[in-house]
């Protein structure tokens, strides 16, 4: 090789070496995922991720509240990020795993307990302690804060309540000449009357993305003194109370009170059935009337909780929450921001942005909130008797509930019951095996 060629080759190699090194460094930096930029604050700011809990006006208003936060001293300011429900589990999991997630966020109702088990959650004990002196702690509705307690501390702070309640169409009940039911036997009687006018009385959906069906199955178990977990927080599905509750639902199915299509109805399908007045009674969240809209909305009324065959009352509810993460630029900053947020979040309810029910008495007592008779009824009659997934063994949530919250096992169980494909005991046994597996 000539000297010229050799020099040229060296030059190329030198250039390629620098280029390759730069590329590798860039790639490794991209893969590292950590670093200062990954802090839950993204540097000097604190990331607050919130979900679209209400209508289109919710997140813009929520963002305004967040950005109005003026931190004291050196504490970080908050930046707002709306996270879509679509694939939110992946969004949070990948962000938290790579330390690029938020410092504070809402999310799925059981999300805090999943991340707590991974050591990613900053406990809210100190925050809640500080709220005892400013009145916030005592402002929470009964039982809400306790639902957040796990062995290590409080995994989250209650934010908005997602209830599962019984709705009926006043016009259709009048047409059928019956009064709203008060217990299980009268529910069957009303159902028979509604069937006489071609209307279903057990309106739910258990299709793709619709988990309400599985919530209602659990509600009936709780209404009968049962539930899915025992006091040791272990799955305990095959109990007399649960079997009796599911036999009641199967009776509703067998007698034709349940729309056979419910098995695969999406939320949209369910709302269509309410709109078309095919559902005279049914089970849904607090926002059903608003979601259905139109003329029918005014006909929809929340019923009082039913009394079970042994005198029990109960239903399933989801105390959605806000959690703090260990990956934060300042834990003191996270707590200061949350204190500000809870003291200033009332407009999300008083301005009717569509968010679920408020966790604070002071908001529930405002004239704006009191103007919604259905919401008031839910807060006054349903919230006190509602239990979490942990029922009947526990009022608190824990990691094990992630096995039943929107999981395939619960979906399959619900579809099995709603299609009458198995006996109550068979379906519950299959569910138990799936949860133990």
């Amino acid at each position: 090789m000539s000297m010229r060629a050799s020099k040229a080759a060296l030059s190329r190699r030198g250039f390629l070496g620098v280029a390759g090194g730069t590329a590798a460094a860039g790639a490794l930096a991209a893969c590292s995922g950590g670093g200062s930029g990954g802090g839950g604050g993204g540097g000097d700011t604190l990331k607050f991720w919130n979900m679209p809990w209400g209508g289109t006006e919710f997140n813009p208003r929520d963002k305004e509240i967040t950005e109005a936060y003026a931190p004291e001293g050196d504490l970080p300011a908050a930046v707002y990020q709306e996270i879509q429900w679509a694939n939110f589990t992946q969004t949070f999991s990948s962000a938290v795993a790579s330390n690029t997630g938020p410092a504070v966020s809402s999310g799925g109702g059981t999300q805090a307990f999943l991340f707590e088990s991974q050591g990613k959650i900053a406990y809210a004990d100190d925050l809640l302690e500080s709220w005892k002196s400013n009145g916030l702690y005592d402002d929470f509705l009964p039982g809400l804060i306790d639902a957040m307690k796990v062995e290590g501390g409080y995994a989250a702070v209650p934010y908005n309540l997602d209830m599962r309640v019984m709705w009926y169409n006043t016009t259709l009940l009048d047409q059928a000449g019956v009064e709203p039911p008060t217990d299980w036997p009268s529910y069957l009687e009303v159902s028979e009357a509604l069937k006489g006018i071609g209307v279903y009385s057990f309106g739910v959906g258990a299709g793709s993305g619709s988990f309400t069906g599985s919530h209602i199955m659990t509600s009936f178990m709780i209404n009968n003194g049962g539930g899915l977990f025992n006091a040791d927080q272990e799955p305990d599905c095959v109990t007399d109370a649960n079997i009796e509750a599911m036999e009641f639902v199967l009776e509703m199915v067998a007698k034709g009170y349940v729309d056979p299509g419910s098995v695969t109805y999406t939320s949209d399908n369910v709302q269509t059935q309410w709109k078309d007045r095919r559902f005279g009674m049914g089970w849904d969240g607090a926002g059903l009337a608003a979601n259905v809209g139109g003329d029918v909305a005014a006909e929809l009324t929340v019923n009082s909780p039913l009394v079970g065959p042994h005198g029990d009352q109960g239903a399933l509810y989801f105390p959605n929450n806000i959690m703090m993460y260990t990956n934060t630029p300042s834990q003191e900053g996270s707590e200061a921001f949350l204190t500000y947020y809870y003291q200033n979040m009332a407009p999300l309810w008083t301005e009717h942005t569509g968010i679920g029910l408020p966790p604070l008495r002071s908001i529930a007592e405002t004239p704006e909130f009191q103007s919604d008779a259905n919401a008031v009824k839910i807060i006054e009659e349903w919230q006190p008797i509602s239990r979490t997934w942990g029922a009947p063994g526990s009022d608190a949530l824990f990691l094990g509930v992630t096995d039943v919250d929107g999981t395939p096992a619960m979906g399959t169980f619900t579809q099995t019951i709603l299609s009458g494909a198995a006996t109550a005991e068979e379906a519950l046994t299959t569910l138990q095996q799936a949860l133990e597996g």
Binding site: A9, R13, C31, S208, G261, V263, N269, T407, G411, T416
Partner: protein, 320 residues
């Protein structure tokens, strides 16, 4: 140039030699693999190789690691050997999903191919507004599957939907297209054929366009019927494209997540659950990464086997 010399040149060309001669004589000296030139070439492609490895090999290797651990979406978990594969392969739900995946794929591939081929043959003839028809027929493929699934849901989901009303009017009573397990399976398969046939129509249309029309005319002069033309001329002459389209559609069907998930979510009672839907639900709803990735790996193995078999058919067609 004589005929012999032309044939000789062609043979030389096929064997990689130039027409003009034997080319450079074999080098008597042992080749230096790492000559400066090769080092330079290697260095030039190295960034690309690294990028490909980072983008493709790393996720696959990492997924392989996940499939033998009992982790979740955040933590890798402990090494459990082949326990995840054993759990998956002994789960009746897996085999139920595997059976439906097989049916879904067979119907999806051959149903869409038959429909696409038929329409491609029809559209070869000059018809009024043929271009408009072609565009309209492409719509199921072009429209986002989220929109298609929503439309089909509207079409069949409730008793007030158009198709149940039609079925009732025709005397079939109340037909539960999505709530009845068998009907849900049929509906999902038909939906798959509907969104896939335009792709097959394009593939087969392109294959048919490349066939010399003189061959058909000669066969017609010899008295060949339409069926004979199809069986002995059209199908063999488009066989290569057919096999390639089957390979692609098999991959599309086995990996098709939205079609099933958006229409039925895998229900009722897992009746329409395919393996890819089961893998998704296992990882992202049950948070069991190991078994979910194990399902995905098993799917990949089956897909590779099927693809290799079909690819060999393509090569055989080439040789013939």
């Amino acid at each position: 140039m004589s005929t012999d010399s032309v044939a000789q040149s062609l043979r030389r060309a096929r064997s990689g030699l130039g027409v003009g001669g034997a080319g450079r004589p074999p080098d008597a000296r042992p080749k230096r693999v790492l000559s400066p030139r090769n080092v330079t070439m290697l260095a030039l492609v190295l960034p690309s190789i690294l990028l490909v490895l980072l983008l493709n090999a790393y996720p696959v290797l990492y997924a392989g690691v996940q499939s033998v651990r009992d982790g979740d979406l955040i933590a890798a978990g402990d090494f459990v050997g082949l326990a995840n594969y054993e759990a998956v392969l002994t789960d009746p739900v897996f085999w139920q999903a595997a059976r439906f995946t097989l049916v879904f794929t067979l119907v999806g591939v051959f149903g869409s191919w038959a429909m696409g081929m038929g329409l491609a043959l029809l559209l070869r003839h000059r018809i009024p507004a043929g271009g408009v028809f072609k565009v309209l027929l492409l719509l199921p493929w072009v429209v986002p599957v989220v929109v298609s699934a929503t439309s089909w849901n509207w079409l069949v989901a409730t008793p007030q939907s158009p198709l149940p009303i039609l079925a009732d009017a025709l005397g079939f009573g109340r037909v539960l297209f999505l709530a009845n397990p068998l009907l849900a399976q049929i509906t999902v398969c038909i939906f798959k054929v509907w969104i896939s046939f335009p792709f097959m129509m394009m593939m087969m249309g392109a294959a048919l366009a490349s066939v010399d029309q003189n061959v058909y005319e000669a066969a017609r002069v010899d008295g060949a019927s339409g069926t004979q033309l199809l069986r002995t001329m059209t199908l063999p002459l488009t066989a290569k494209s057919t096999y390639i389209s089957w390979i692609l559609m098999t991959i599309f069907c086995v990996n098709d997540f939205p079609t099933v998930f958006l229409l039925t979510g895998g229900g009722p009672v897992n009746a329409t659950q395919t393996l890819v839907v089961q893998a998704y639900r296992t990882v992202f709803l049950d948070f069991e990464t190991g078994p979910g990735v194990a399902i995905a790996f098993l799917m990949t193995v089956v897909l590779v086997v099927i693809s290799v078999i079909l690819y060999r058919r393509v090569r055989k067609v080439d040789i013939e």
